[in-house]
Amino acid sequence: MNLFKRKEKATGEILAGGESAIANKEVEGLSQGQIVRRRFFRHRAAVGALVVLTSLIIFVMTALETKIGPIRIPGWWKWTTEDIPALRFEDCPGGTTGCPTLSLNPAGGFGLGTHPFGQDDIGRDYFALTMNGARRSLMIMFVIGAVAGFIGVVVGSIAGFYGKMVDAVLMRLVDFIQTVPTIIIAAVIGKAAGKVGPLYLALFLGILGWTGLARLVRAQFLSLREMEFVDAARVAGASNIRIAFKHILPNAVGQIIVSITLIMAGAILTETALSYLGFGVVAPDVSLGLLISQYESSFTTRPWLFWWPGLFIISIALCVNFIGDGLRDAFDPRQRRRITKKDRLQAKLQSKVGA
């Protein structure tokens, strides 16, 4: 059965010290941070995702007018969400109105037109609406990531560092929050918080989302606090706080970052799902999930109202997931790069030169 067949290694390669020798040679004399950075930048998908996500954020954030207190930064897009231009119905398929003017067909010439993403049923520019929704969703995603990350790290490190009673109590708290079905309680809170504003919604969701991270950090702390360098720090007279945050935490930071990216990727899906159900961001405000929910029924006649927000949700979540994957590989000490033919050749040449 061919399914189980395995690639055989050439004998010469194993004799020559194998792949680990090549991999070790590469990281000689580099700091941990440098190694991680190098590994991350070698992960092509992750770097691509990082570039896409960064440009997406800049694109979304600058498209519309930003208000920070009294300061107003104008956006580069010509419509706002309040404008109600006339509905366009020329060359729309099947008697629909407000179809997208974006044209990527090389024969027809590239062009944005007046409403590249189309218009909604009362004529508002859909590009502006989508941008506004994406901005809201991104904001919520980062707030949830920050809040959940902060609580998770603090609770996890305290539980793992002090152990015993403190640990037992805090872990019961974690169990306790995990028992509550997220979507139900989030819906209850969302229903109340949605009226107050999306920022509060994000804060509440963050308060619910830290449990997994706390468990992870606790486990890391439990194993790290038995290490020799902790004893060394204690002998040198460091305080508990200093040991926990200066000595142990940096060693656990890899897993924490990875876990936070995963929380963020989950957060954007939770937020959109809640808004879709009508318990998240509510009507005068716009979010991607809400847009989809509002125009779900018009999918058959005017599909663009459904496609664009979905596309934005997917691309954001996909990018965050890929970055998380790249970081995981970069931080994992056991993870070795795939040794390619080129590397072997180089190693061979170098060993010849050395001899």
């Binding site: 059965m1 509550v180 979905g310 996909l318």
Partner: protein, 499 residues
């Protein structure tokens, strides 16, 4: 204890966050004051929530004296009966989805790990990430549009254009080519084979209008059965094991011989009992056949025979259900639009026929299940790939290879069993998680399950109903966690409870 705490918290949060009187306060109706007073009395609103919780708890604790009382909903129905109606609906939805997703995800993940860094592996990784990032409601709406509405349109005028046949065949070819892997020449051979097979099948389907009157028929079942017999033997006990192979072939042969009698039984005594009895007969036959073939080392042979018989029997069952298709789509309730987008049953379909009813249930299950599968598949591909790669790096795998075991035994016996340990505990958690995730699916597809009940409760500020749903879900999580721990320690002898 934890259940008590979390239900207390949810009760109070929900009680403070919601105001069941809000609508009445806004109304200018003269009777509004009276209604408020009546509702306050009915729901005990003048009692502060922390104390009201204990009133609710008293009803719950009645469970131990056989007098469970979860209160009534605001429509005056009892919460128990509402829940009792909703639970089986959700379980049906989630169970099918979890099992399919696990089987498919495990298979893809394992192959992906065995071919680490191959084209197939990269493809699967990308697919997993893509599925991970899909919002379920978005997928559900897409499925509704393309799998139901468009497919129904297609069925009313069935004709596969040549262009699609070719595109679809190329896709299948690439899939199988990269799945079996190997050198470039091998890839193209497999690609060509898969492409041609797929093209011929599609053409045959189109030519015979199979989708209007589907069915496998004895000849196709015979061919498939023989193929299955070889396939199962190859994975389960190795193709060189002649006894196992012969036992599997005999089972396949028996299944084919049984085709007509089974048809008769199905037609006249169609019920779940019949299916179970036939299943028992099948297993007994498997044991008997393996006994006939070997006196020693019967285990693997019996296993091979039973699995083969099971799959072949399943084929016959599918065939029988397919035979109802034509009748089903011709009924008034269905009216030649067989893929439904809404609800869990067709109420207008009133029939005594066991097979029609089941086909109806299956057709309604397809889309929501597919949505749930797509969402949870990603996780399983990643988990199983990661777990297998982890296990393959262990020393005992190297030992097994070094002592000359063939790769099939190393993978199925040493690696696979160890890989399943961490996954077994995930299974329970994933199942419970999906029950929560089904909320959205239920809403999109209009199922009357737990999720719909929960949404209804939140929207109408129905505290008793909400607590009922919440209690049930928390109970699932707690028992799920316990079950996962027990399962883990039962499977892995290295894990012993401390002290």
């Amino acid at each position: 204890m934890i259940l008590f705490g979390s239900s207390f918290m949810v009760y109070n949060l929900a009680a403070y966050a919601s105001d069941p009187l809000a609508e009445l306060r806004l109304s200018n109706d003269d009777s509004a004051q009276q209604q408020i007073a009546a509702l306050t009395r009915q729901l005990n609103l003048d009692t502060p929530p922390p104390i009201r919780y204990f009133l609710w708890l008293r009803g719950l604790l009645g469970l131990f004296v056989g007098n469970l009382n979860l209160g009534t909903t605001r429509d005056g129905l009892s919460v128990q009966s509402e829940l009792a109606y909703a639970i089986p609906v959700t379980i049906r939805l989630v169970l099918v989805a979890t099992i399919t997703a696990v089987l498919l995800g495990l298979a893809l993940g394992i192959i992906s790990a065995l071919r680490q860094y191959s084209r197939f592996d990269y493809g699967m990784t990308f697919l997993a990430f893509l599925l991970y990032s899909l919002p379920i409601f978005w997928v559900a709406v897409l499925l509704k549009e393309f799998m139901a509405i468009q497919f129904n349109n297609f069925l009313s005028e069935p004709n596969i254009p040549l262009r699609w046949m070719i595109i679809f065949s190329i896709f299948t070819g690439v899939f199988w080519g990269s799945l079996l892997g190997g050198e470039r020449r091998r890839f193209w051979t497999v690609f060509g084979g898969a492409f041609a097979t797929n093209f011929v099948i599609l053409w045959a389907i189109d030519f015979t209008d199979w989708y209007l009157n589907p069915g496998l028929g004895p000849i196709l079942i015979a061919l498939l059965s023989v193929g299955i017999a070889f396939g199962v033997t190859a994975i389960s006990s190795g193709i060189t094991d002649i006894k196992a192979r012969n036992a599997a072939l005999v089972m396949a042969g028996l299944a084919v011989v049984w085709y007509y009698p089974a048809q008769w039984i199905f037609d006249n005594y169609g019920s779940y009992l019949t299916v179970f009895v036939l299943l028992a007969v099948l297993i007994a036959t498997g044991v008997f056949v393996s006994r006939a073939f070997s006196k020693i080392d019967r285990g693997p042979i019996a296993r091979t025979a039973i699995i083969t018989g099971f799959i072949c029997g399943f084929l016959i069952l599918i065939d029988r259900i397919m035979q109802s298709w034509k009748e089903y789509s011709a009924t008034d309730a269905v009216n030649y639009r067989p893929v439904p987008t809404f609800g869990q049953r067709k109420d207008q379909l009133v029939t005594e026929d066991f097979w029609l009813n089941n086909l109806d249930i299956i057709m309604h299950l397809i889309l929501p299940t597919l949505a749930l599968i797509l969402i949870s598949l990603a996780g399983w591909i990643r988990y199983s790939r990661g777990a297998l790669l982890e296990v393959l790096n262990q020393d005992y795998i190297r030992t097994a290879r070094a002592k000359g075991l063939n790769e099939r035994v190393v993978i199925t016996r040493h690696a696979f069993r160890n890989m399943m340990l961490p996954l077994s505990s995930l299974f329970v958690g994933e199942f419970v998680g999906l029950v929560g995730g089904a909320v959205i699916t239920e809403r999109v597809f209009g199922w009357q399950g737990m999720g719909t009940l929960g949404i209804k409760a939140i929207n109408s500020y129905d505290l008793n109903l909400l607590m009922g749903v919440n209690l049930l879900l928390s109970f699932l999580v707690v028992t799920g966690n316990l079950l996962a721990d027990l399962l883990y320690s039962a499977l892995d002898p290295r894990i012993r409870l401390r002290k």
